[in-house]
Subunit: 307 residues, 2 copies
């Protein structure tokens, strides 16, 4: 395969995440050298979903690499909501625990929102508690969900200009699309250091023609839908930055499973200026940001205890 | 002056607000007839800003009309933050009080955010507490800020289609632009009954040319900036709905003061399908929504006490 000079630069999220891991490793060493306890993350899984187990494994591996202590609590599928809330409450009260996450989805008999709000804001390293979402919306210091924070960091470290530029977010999920649209449009001089872009939020009810039009006007396209092939070459302005948060498991011609994003990568890379691959783009950044959030939480808790 | 048939329909916010007031009056009578105490709103003003006094007067007048008990606490400019928080705390704890608001702005020596968060979410009828903003962002039941809720209600009661339509919000303030962009883009089947529009958020760093382009693509334009004449005829698609939240006091040729919005009303009404005037558009709807929020808060508190 020959690469021509106008092919998009592929943003290597895995490499960037590794770089961040080593920076966090140093930051953590210094924090511990100052006499603070080693940060501790508790991950809770309810049930035996193999994807959830895999995700949590990736997170605990990253903890190990950086030097964060981690513990995984695996609860049976039959766990009641009250039992899960009790487990969360113990983690909330345990001063040796700095971060708590419940791997989503939870079984259908448990209300996800109640669970997300049960983790106290200070230990909510996923940033899904209503208080952390509220703080994000208000540009206040809090904990920002890892995937949108990963996209923001990826744009910043790739030096993609965002100030006064046009951005499109495709997908209005509460874990990715909505918080990302806030980070993209909000004020760079406030605590969350927003990106000051003009932002359009598209979603399932945006007509295809309108979606294509908004995308073509965009300097930055972030897509988080879960529909392979949604973003095609004709929808992308030459030189635009295309960030693919989608992740879908599909079977190729040979019957082998592989992970693909929402962007027609082979086509779009011919017009885009920058593009993230799937896998190896946003995914590793999500894990890195979770690590960053855990250290941030530990530091804030230490500062609060000192005051 | 002659009106041609292609002149925009003027949305009479004052009339709509009066209609809502009488609906709320009936709702309140029934609530009280069921044995519940008369809902009670406390408004707090710090300092002697005449505009703040005027706004609070309008709110207490509306309370009187509907049958809500209200009390205004006026504190001197020199009030410390601790003293104000103490006053708020007493209102939070007073079971006879259902809604509490602090008229903004507060004097510079008091932190506005701390004050907004000090009012407990259940009594926060302005919807500015971080928990209420978080719930709005998550499409959960909570209290929605009055001005964006007023704009939503105004669109709904005028039967402006929003599903899958293009909307532009000009201005990213936390009290209007941001919550409104959430109400406009979010899911109509969730608790907050979002409007399912494709939404573009423009702000001070959106280049003028881009602002004009996004506005021209829009079926609905909501502008909340405070810059008279910002939205001109050439920026509006024929038939679009233009909602003007801006309110600025200017002097006319004769030296007389008048209130104007952000839209060049006389020009834009020649192309728009619907338009709100200033004054008499969004303003009265804000007051009506505050009344609605107060009754909602009282009803929720009664239901919580019954459980």
């Amino acid at each position: 395969m020959r690469f021509t000079s106008n092919m998009a630069q592929i943003i290597d999220g895995k490499n960037m995440a590794n770089q961040i891991h080593s920076e966090l490793c140093k930051e953590l060493s210094q924090f511990v050298a100052e006499g603070n306890p080693v940060p501790h993350l508790t991950a809770i899984i309810v049930g035996e979903d193999p994807a959830s187990q895999k995700y949590v494994e990736k997170k605990t591996e990253a903890c190990k690499k950086i030097g964060i202590r981690s513990r995984t609590i695996v609860l049976p599928e039959s766990t009641t909501q009250a039992e899960l809330l009790d487990v969360i409450d113990k983690q909330n009260k345990d001063e040796s625990v700095n971060g708590v996450l419940v791997q989503l989805p939870v079984p259908a008999h448990i209300d996800e929102r109640t669970v997300c709000n049960a983790i106290i804001a200070a230990k909510d390293v996923d940033g899904f508690n209503e208080i952390n979402i509220g703080r994000l919306a208000l540009d206040m210091n809090g904990i920002v969900p890892a995937t949108p924070l990963g996209v923001k960091t990826l744009l910043e470290r790739t030096n993609i200009p965002t100030f006064g530029r046009n951005a499109v977010v495709v997908g209005r999920s509460k874990n990715v699309g909505l918080p990302l649209s806030i980070l993209l449009h909000s004020d760079g001089s406030h605590a969350t250091k927003g990106l000051d872009a003009t932002v359009t939020i598209c979603h399932r009810y945006t007509p295809a023609k309108e979606l294509a039009k908004y995308c073509r006007q965009a300097d930055i396209i972030v897509v988080a839908v879960g529909k392979p092939g949604l973003i095609t070459k004709d929808m992308v302005k030459p030189g635009a930055c295309v960030i693919d948060v989608g992740i879908t498991r599909v079977q190729d011609e040979a019957g082998k499973y592989k992970l693909v994003g929402d962007v027609d990568f082979d086509e779009v890379r011919q017009v885009a200026g920058h593009i993230t691959p799937v896998p190896g783009g946003v995914g590793p950044m999500t894990v890195a940001m979770l690590m960053q959030n855990t250290i941030l939480a530990a530091k804030k808790q230490a500062a609060d205890r000192a005051n």
